[in-house]
C-alpha cells in the first residue's frame, strides 16, 4: 500500500524542505512506500525551485516526489483535487498542512488505526486526550471551542471531536467520492468533508495530535475568517 501525501503550498520555501525531510524519515523508518505531491500555486518566493531540488534528492524506488504547478492562488479544494489527480493509483491519501504545524510522526498512528479498525478515514484531533495546541492564547481557545460547539450542535457529526482539523488519512474511495461534493471554503471546507462522509455512511477513527501554530504574530483568525466560517456552517446546516 502506497501512501500519497498531498501538500498544497503557497510561500512555503522554508518549511517545505523540512516537512519533506520529516515525511521521508517517518515513512522510511516504518518501511512504507510513499508519494508526496506538492501542489504549488506559483508561490512568489520560488517554492517551486525548492520543490525541484527536493525531487532530485528524495525521488527513489519507494519514494516519489510529484510536483503540480498551478498558475495562481486557486484555493485549497482545487489543490486537493489536482493533487489527487497526480497521485499513484490505489494509494491511501493523507492531507495535512505544509507549514510544520502537523508532525508526520502521527501518520503511522493513523495508519495503525485504519488497519486495525477498518475505518474509512482517520482524523487527527486536537481536542481528545493526548492532543493539544501550542501557540494559542485564551481568545483563540475560546473561539475554537465555541466554533466547535456550534458546529457540533448544528450539524451533529457523531464521534468526531475536531471538525475543522486538516490532518487526516483517507481511504482512496472516500476522498474520491466526497471531494467533488464539497462546496465550502476555509475552515468550513474541512467540516464539510467530515459531515458528507458521515452522511455517506463512512466510519471515522481518531488519533490525538499536537498542533504547533507557527504563524508568528500574524493573526490567522480575523473577523473575515469568522464570517466565512459562519456562512459555511449555515450553508451546511441548510444543505446536509
Amino acid at each position: 500500500m502506497t501512501y500519497t501525501v498531498i501538500l498544497p503550498t503557497y510561500n512555503e520555501r522554508e518549511n517545505l524542505p523540512l516537512i519533506v525531510y520529516l515525511l521521508d524519515k517517518t515513512f522510511k523508518a516504518h518501511n512504507i512506500s510513499y508519494q508526496i505531491v506538492i501542489v504549488d500555486d506559483s508561490s512568489p518566493d520560488k517554492t517551486h525551485e525548492v520543490a525541484l531540488s527536493l525531487k532530485s534528492i528524495f525521488n527513489g524506488s519507494n519514494s516519489i516526489i510529484t510536483i503540480v504547478s498551478r498558475k495562481g492562488k486557486l484555493g485549497l479544494g482545487t489543490a486537493y483535487v489536482a493533487g489527487l489527480k497526480a497521485s499513484v493509483e490505489g494509494s491511501r491519501i493523507i492531507l495535512m498542512d505544509a507549514d510544520l504545524s502537523h508532525h508526520p510522526k502521527f501518520i503511522p498512528q493513523m495508519i495503525k488505526v485504519m488497519d486495525e479498525t477498518g475505518v474509512d478515514l482517520v482524523s487527527g484531533t486536537r481536542y481528545r486526550k493526548g492532543g493539544g495546541v501550542m501557540g494559542w492564547d485564551l481568545k483563540r481557545k475560546v473561539t475554537s471551542r465555541g466554533a466547535n460547539f456550534l458546529a457540533s450542535f448544528l450539524l451533529n457529526p457523531g464521534t468526531a471531536s475536531d471538525l475543522t482539523g486538516s490532518f487526516r488519512l483517507y481511504e482512496r474511495n472516500v476522498i474520491e467520492k466526497i471531494l467533488p461534493m464539497v462546496q465550502s471554503t476555509g475552515y468550513a471546507f474541512q467540516m464539510e468533508i467530515l459531515i458528507r462522509a458521515k452522511k455517506e455512511g463512512m466510519s471515522l477513527g481518531e488519533v490525538p495530535i499536537t498542533f504547533v501554530d507557527r504563524i508568528y504574530g500574524e493573526s490567522k483568525l480575523g473577523a473575515n475568517e469568522i464570517v466565512m466560517y459562519l456562512k459555511g456552517l449555515l450553508q451546511l446546516f441548510f444543505t446536509t
Binding site: P17, L18, V142
Partner: protein
C-alpha cells in the same frame, strides 16, 4: 425498471428540517400547556403534575415563558461546554520544542544531501 419491493428508503431529513421538527414539537407542547394551565397548575388533587414541585407563584410563569427557559438552559449548556473545553485545553510546549529540534536536524541533514537552503 426493477424495484426492490422489500426495501423501503427512509427519508433523510436535512439538519434544518430536524431543528424545525423539534421546534414544532416544543411549540405544540407549549400550546397545549397554555390551553390547559388550570389543570397543570392545580395541586390539590391526588395526581400532581410536575409543576407542583415548584412554588405556586412560579408555576404559571414557567408555562407562559416555557420556550424562553428552553433557550436559557441551552445557553447555559453552551456556555458550560465552552468553559470546560477551554479549561481542559491542552497546551503542548514539548511539541513546539520537538519541532524546533526536528527543524535543526532537518536543515543539517538537507545541507549534507546537497540542498541549498
Amino acid at each position: 425498471q426493477s424495484h426492490s419491493s422489500s426495501s423501503f428508503k427512509m427519508v433523510e431529513l436535512l439538519r434544518y428540517q430536524i431543528f424545525l421538527s423539534y421546534g414544532a414539537v416544543i411549540l405544540s407542547i407549549w400550546y397545549y400547556a397554555l390551553q390547559n394551565k388550570p389543570a397543570l397548575t392545580h395541586c390539590d388533587s391526588c395526581c400532581k403534575p410536575v409543576l407542583c414541585y415548584f412554588p405556586s407563584q412560579m408555576r404559571e410563569p414557567i408555562i407562559d415563558y416555557a420556550p424562553l427557559w428552553v433557550l436559557v438552559l441551552l445557553a447555559l449548556y453552551a456556555l458550560g461546554s465552552v468553559v470546560i473545553g477551554v479549561l481542559t485545553f491542552a497546551d503542548c510546549p514539548e511539541a513546539a520544542k520537538e519541532v524546533e529540534s526536528d527543524a535543526k536536524e532537518g536543515k543539517a541533514a538537507l545541507k549534507k544531501m546537497g540542498m541549498k537552503l
